[in-house]
Symmetry: C2
Subunit: 162 residues, 2 copies
């Protein structure tokens, strides 16, 4: 199947916005939605459920990735694209990376989000800083057992790489 | 209750390593575990379930956050700390930020992880780059409806901030 053209892009984005609108109005959480598309077919849907789901990781993109992977029984979404109503935060950008999604289409920007009270800029800065310059304290508590377990992983013959 | 002293730190880290070991050996996923502690009590447990759970977001830290929030019926873990067997990847670091966790204690480093095939360094670099320099294509598909929905959020009277 061909890649979606401009019309399809706006159709898919409209779908993501509709999801965001419906669930925001129902009290699920913030005004954000996302869909995952594989070869022109919607395979995953997500919306913000942080407050209603008591889950700070339930941003629209994370929820859409989890939905698509559940639907397809896979942990790789290689060959898929994501449409999200707003530029992903660092958590979601990294999740999209781990899910092996090919391309991100987004509507509003992080500046638009900042204007309605979602300021991801500080978090982008935090993630970019060397460990010792971060605001969130990160303290090493070395463990021989943790080191040994990592060696055990190398030797594990039936492991599934990811 | 006082903050845990050095002995408690190693006891909590041992618990995280035990979780990691048990579930790695059972085939859940990679050699990673995490626990969330609030006032000396373990309130959340997580281990890597990427491959067994078909969920690329199911890193130990994310799973522990979701477990703690479910147990406590909250989307904020302010006042809690996390013990993780390895330095968090950018996805997990950002999730810990959103969960409002106070402090991260980690055992192995991202360099240790790289030596066993988990190279988060490229992802840390990706997240730190300006959008146009990234490897993962990020394309704007502007949407008036998305912009309108963000304005609706500002005016929504019964919204729950997060």
């Amino acid at each position: 199947m061909n890649k979606p053209g401009p019309t399809s892009h706006s159709t898919f984005m409209d779908l993501a916005v509709k999801l965001a609108a419906r669930h925001m109005r129902a009290g699920a959480g913030g005004p954000f939605g996302a869909i995952i598309v594989h070869q022109g077919i919607v395979i995953g849907r997500g919306w913000n459920e942080v407050t209603s789901g008591n889950d700070p990781t339930a941003h629209a993109e994370i929820s859409a990735i989890r939905d698509a992977c559940r639907q397809r029984s896979t942990f790789s979404l290689a060959g898929s694209v994501i449409y999200t109503t707003c530029e992903p935060c660092p958590m979601c950008l990294a999740a999209i990376w781990w899910a092996r999604i090919d391309t991100i289409y987004y509507a509003s920007t992080r500046d638009d989000a900042a204007r309605i009270g979602f300021d991801d800029a500080a978090l982008y800065q935090e993630v970019s800083l060397p460990v010792h310059q971060r605001r969130l304290p990160l303290i090493q508590q070395p463990s021989d057992k943790a080191a040994q377990l990592m060696r055990e992983w190398i030797e594990k013959e039936d492991k599934i790489p990811y």
